[in-house]
């Protein structure tokens, strides 16, 4: 790393957790700063460190302070986050520290400052921590754009990425790196003439660049990112727990294994117990405390808890006072937590990379192996856990799809650039294309974004006189006025959180009680006053929802009415899914599985069909008064839910009267009034369902409204905060839904609707994955027309009931009976 630093090379350092990655990143800067010659003028920022978490930036500041003090170095290192006080921020602007530690949002703010160019002129190095988690989302887009900007301010700046092990380092390198200014992808005379409202016509950049010799100096430097691989740590020890020799048919909670998990916690020093959702965390925490006769210090950590409460747990962990923490992805990354010697994953991990990351939380010493225990909650999960354990041992990780930068983020960036200093269209276009996610940005799209930033991008040109950015007589674009700039700065950032409400103790009369934490608004919308639920490890009674506060009071109930679990938040990774399919097909692999799972697979082969590795198994069978269609595509819950919605529409048109469906990570189950045995399955699964059917459904869907709201906020169409405007006493809510409806009717091809459609398709719907699957299974559907439920179908048949009446005693009895019937039917 030091060598690369001296050569001024861009580097991506990939090393497992515990390898001293962060220090390696800073070392070249520390050396340079120590060796620098004294100068008369105050120096600017030398090294910029970017972390995805505020807490991590503050933590690194602390960790750097020790060596700097002990070695007596004359180096200043300071953090700057949203929580940093105003006076410190002001001082940092006047007298920049040598090393500035901050977040992508703060960097975006810096870049929107008038003095940004001078402030960063001396910048020599940018270190991006947790790069593997940062790049594949909108925050990563924004950060890549800001890196491109910084490179213009400080041509000699080096980029250093620190990353955990990833499947495809090239994707991270592409994101991190500086992209040489290649001619833009313009076809023969494709520039639309007169289409845009941009009044200054830039010369087509392609012509300019092709005719000039390669630029001198900085741009001659080869900016490809070098890859440095840290020494791999000891091979982790990964085991799969088969509690009592049995694996349950269905479920998400691994309730059956709790007693054994408790014993294992007891026999280890400190354990991290990972689960996939907040509700699973609450459930596991409750169950473990029911068994906790020894009074072990078992804590809870998830994103809904009040920040103060989380900090307390973290501090106690660091002091070594805690035996186990039940946690969600909130503890996936970052800070070192004392002496963790075991990682337990309750329910399947859904992806090998995530599991490797989680295992890395244990034992931060390279020479000793980390220990991990996977606890499958159902039979398909058993297959998945086995596949994950094999993948981890074999060093196979999940791939991320390549990413194209989002245009709503680009709109925010363009506005930020205008706030900082006037820009020329072509120069900005060239600069933007040096950022990985935007390397292929089309001129037309850029033009559309600039038009959007300036006038809103409407076909009806009524806003020309109110432009937010205006071209001057010099051809340069600048922000309209100081107020426009101030408003932009108040709204920078790309994290749009789901509507959350504060959970407070209090009844109707006594409001304003202690805050217990935060939860999604939707969670309480399903509840009526008097319902009980588990939150922050306790049972509460829901009293009322007032504004942004949900009022609750402690309940004596031992059996809370739990909300539906909703299964896993993460979809099963494509890689694990294909491994599971291969494992099912290859009987030699079965030997590694518990006896009851082997028996289950055997019966499936006997009663139905065991599909080939690249086939889709589809079963039809009657049960009760209904007809079922079940298929096992292993594409994850999101893609499955989308597919089920679209298939239901189709089945309705085909006249079979679909009544409902359930979808989980592994399969889809649709039931109807008429038999679906005779349907033309190739027609049913024809790829064109992703065309008009998807479009029609999406336009009406709340998903689009939610996606639109996020895009509207990020792009600056809607502002969260306005300077000096206090809300009046009465709240008139003016929702983005109204804007969405009007825009959809009057300009359906508007930039933000395009963005929203792309986001909805990629995010909540997983349309990309669905498309791949539909293509893969063309002509490969194996249909088993059965007279009764198959062994594979049992888990998803059980989920039909589970979605309805969770926790209700009568419901559980009905379910238990139904379960026995069903299993007997399938296995006899």
């Amino acid at each position: 790393m030091i060598e690369k630093g001296r050569q001024g090379r861009d580097v991506l350092l990939i090393a497992p957790t515990g390898g001293g990655k962060t220090l390696a990143g800073f070392l070249p800067s520390l050396i340079e700063l120590t060796e620098r010659a004294p100068r008369n003028t105050p120096a600017g920022v030398h090294t910029l460190y970017i972390s995805p978490l505020k807490a991590l930036a503050v933590d690194i500041e602390r960790n750097l302070a020790t060596p700097i003090r002990e070695m007596g170095l004359k180096i200043t290192a300071e953090s700057r986050t949203g929580d940093t006080g105003e006076s410190r921020k002001a001082r940092q602007r006047l007298k920049p520290p040598d090393i500035l530690l901050t977040t992508p949002e703060q960097l975006a703010l810096f870049c929107a400052w008038e003095g940004a160019r001078n402030y960063f002129a001396d910048l020599s190095c940018v270190i991006i921590d947790v790069a593997h988690a940062m790049w594949p989302n909108k925050r990563g887009d924004l950060l890549a754009l800001d890196l491109a900007r910084l490179q213009r301010f400080a041509p000699k700046m080096r980029r250093v990425g620190l990353s955990a092990t990833v499947n495809d380092p090239d994707l991270v390198r592409r994101w991190l790196g500086f992209h040489r200014e290649t001619p833009p992808p313009v076809g023969e005379g494709t520039r639309s003439v007169g289409g845009g409202s941009l009044t200054t016509q830039p010369t087509p950049p392609s012509v300019d660049l092709q005719s000039t010799p390669p630029p001198q100096g900085e741009d001659l430097m080869d900016h490809t990112v070098d890859l440095v691989l840290g020494a791999g740590g000891a091979q982790p020890i990964v085991e799969v727990l088969i509690s009592g020799g049995k694996v349950p048919w269905a479920g998400h909670t691994a309730e059956h294994a709790m007693a054994e998990v408790y014993q294992i916690i007891k026999s280890s020093k400190t354990a991290l117990v990972f689960v996939n959702t907040r509700f699973q965390a609450e459930f596991a925490f409750q169950e473990l405390w029911k068994l906790n006769d020894d009074g072990l210090a078992i804590a809870l950590h998830h994103g809904s808890l009040a920040a103060e409460q989380r900090r307390k747990v973290e501090a106690a962990m660091a002091r070594g006072e805690i035996r186990a923490v039940v946690c969600t992805s909130t503890l996936d990354m970052g800070i070192d937590w004392g002496d963790v010697d075991l990682v337990i994953q309750l329910a399947a991990p859904k992806g090998a990379s995530r599991m490797v990351q989680r295992i890395g939380r244990a034992n931060h010493r390279l020479d000793e192996p980390s220990r991990a225990l996977l606890v499958p909650a159902s039979r398909f999960e058993m297959l998945e856990c086995r596949a994950a354990a094999d993948a981890i041992l074999g060093g196979h990780l999940d791939g991320e799809p390549a990413r194209t930068g989002a245009l709503d983020v680009l709109a925010q960036h363009v506005m930020g650039c205008a706030c900082s200093e006037p820009f020329a269209l072509t120069a900005l276009y060239d600069e933007i294309r040096t950022a990985g996610p935007y390397a292929d940005l089309e001129w037309e799209d850029f033009e559309t974004v600039v038009d959007f930033v300036s006038t809103g991008g409407y076909a009806l040109k009524s806003y020309d006189k109110f432009r937010r950015i205006v071209p001057g007589p010099d051809g340069l674009w600048r922000a309209r006025n100081a107020q426009t700039i101030q408003r932009h700065r108040m709204n920078v950032g790309t994290i749009v959180t789901a509507a959350v409400v504060n959970v407070r103790v209090g009844g109707k009369r006594s409001m304003g009680g202690r805050k217990v934490g935060e939860a999604e608004e939707g969670f309480f919308e399903q509840m009526k006053p008097g319902d009980t639920f588990v939150f922050a490890g306790q049972v509460w009674r829901f009293n009322s929802l007032v504004g942004t506060d949900a009022f609750v009071s402690p309940a004596a109930d031992k059996d809370p009415m739990m909300p539906a679990w909703g299964g896993s938040k993460f979809p099963l990774s494509t890689y694990l899914a294909s491994r599971v399919r291969a494992m099912m097909h290859d009987e030699r692999e079965w030997a590694a599985l518990p006896a009851d799972v082997q028996e289950w697979l055997g019966y499936q082969k006997l009663r139905s069909i065991m599909p080939g590795e690249d086939e889709l198994l589809l079963e039809t069978f009657p049960r009760g008064k209904r007809f079922h269609l079940v298929f096992y595509s292993f594409e994850g819950r999101l893609a499955h839910t989308t597919l089920a919605m679209l298939l239901t529409r189709r089945l309705d048109r085909m006249g079979v009267g679909p009544l409902g469906f359930v979808a989980n990570d592994y399969a889809v189950n649709i039931w109807s009034l008429k038999s679906m045995e005779e349907l033309d399955l190739d027609e049913l699964f024809a790829q064109d369902m992703l065309g008009d059917d998807l479009e029609a459904w999406l336009n009406e869907s709340f998903l689009m409204k939610r996606a639109f709201k996020a895009c509207a906020l990020i792009s600056g169409l809607i502002e969260r905060r306005h300077p000096g405007e206090e809300k009046s006493g009465r709240q008139v809510t003016f929702s983005t839904d109204l804007i969405y409806d009007v825009l959809r009717r009057h300009q359906p091809d508007h930039l933000l609707l395009r963005c929203a459609r792309a986001d909805a398709a990629a995010g909540s719907l997983d349309v990309g994955r669905l498309g791949d699957m539909l293509e893969r299974i063309q002509g490969k559907i194996r249909h088993a027309a059965l007279d009764r439920v198959s062994p594979f179908a049992v888990p998803i048949m059980l989920e039909i009931g589970r979605e309805r009446a969770p926790g209700d005693a009568a419901g559980e009895m009905i379910l238990a009976e139904a379960e026995e019937d069903l299993i007997a039917e399938a296995m006899s």
Binding site: G456, Y463, R467, Q483, M527, V742
Partner: protein
């Protein structure tokens, strides 16, 4: 004080008597006095979108005026009123009229063809429209009812007003919906806002308390019909 009685009409509207005058609460949010061939709409807030652009540089879609006009023209086509009353805040701000896109201006002017327009002024448009056809008034009395923008406190039998943008959050079981609504006790009436970009104020807000001595009826706008909602089914936001 009138007694409250109502029934659903063929068109999905709610038939009701306001201070003795028979009226239909339309699911569009308009009030129809059939006996007097008078249609009443409140709080159109024309050019609200462009006012955000003009004041803050916030470029909301400039299509709210034509969206509102689409809705209004559907009502005119269905009912052919002789009089069209605007209950104030017809424009979002005093300069809204000048910002109208030419084709939208033409459409508004055409509303006057074959009928009388009455523009009651509101707090957003104190002077009323300057160049559009129709009479600009502070308040109007038609069919024994008094039409004004802002409802007065205390007993005001026969008053029909807008201004407050009433909306109701209605719960049933575990689900809840929020809709624009009419509010009436049979003696007076507050209309929902008719404009495309207008938000709503929950009718449990204190602003409604000085208007009604007894719990009024909320008539929520549904898809294709109006739903009479009792006070007990209402929730705060």
């Amino acid at each position: 004080m009138s007694t409250l009685s109502f029934n659903i009409s063929d068109c999905g509207g709610l038939k009701i008597e306001i201070f003795g005058t028979r009226a239909t609460l339309r699911h569009s949010g308009a009030l129809w006095l059939e006996g007097h061939r008078t249609l009443v709409v409140a709080d159109l807030h024309f050019e609200k979108g462009s006012s955000y652009a003009a004041r803050f540089g916030q470029m909301l879609p400039p299509y709210d005026t034509r969206e509102t006009l689409d809705r209004l023209e559907r009502e005119l086509a269905a009912l052919s009123p002789a009089t069209l009353v605007f209950l104030g805040d017809s424009f979002h701000d005093g300069a809204g009229e000048e910002r109208l896109p030419p084709e939208d201006r033409t459409r508004i002017a055409a509303l006057a063809l074959g009928r009388e327009l009455v523009w009651a002024v509101g707090n957003h448009d104190e002077d009323g429209p300057r160049t559009l056809p129709g009479a600009v008034v502070d308040e109007a009395v038609i069919a024994g009812l008094t039409f004004r923008h802002e409802p007065l406190h205390g007993d005001q039998p026969g008053e029909v007003a807008g201004h407050l943008h009433p909306a109701a959050r209605v719960t049933s079981g575990r689900a809840s919906v929020r809709r624009r609504c009419f509010v009436t006790d049979g003696a007076r009436l507050v209309l929902p806002a008719f404009g495309a970009f207008t938000g709503g104020l929950n009718i449990l807000d204190a602003a409604f308390a000085p208007l009604f001595g007894t719990p009024p009826l909320a008539a929520a706008l549904g898809r294709g019909r109006v739903h009479a909602v009792g006070w007990k089914s209402l929730r705060p936001d």
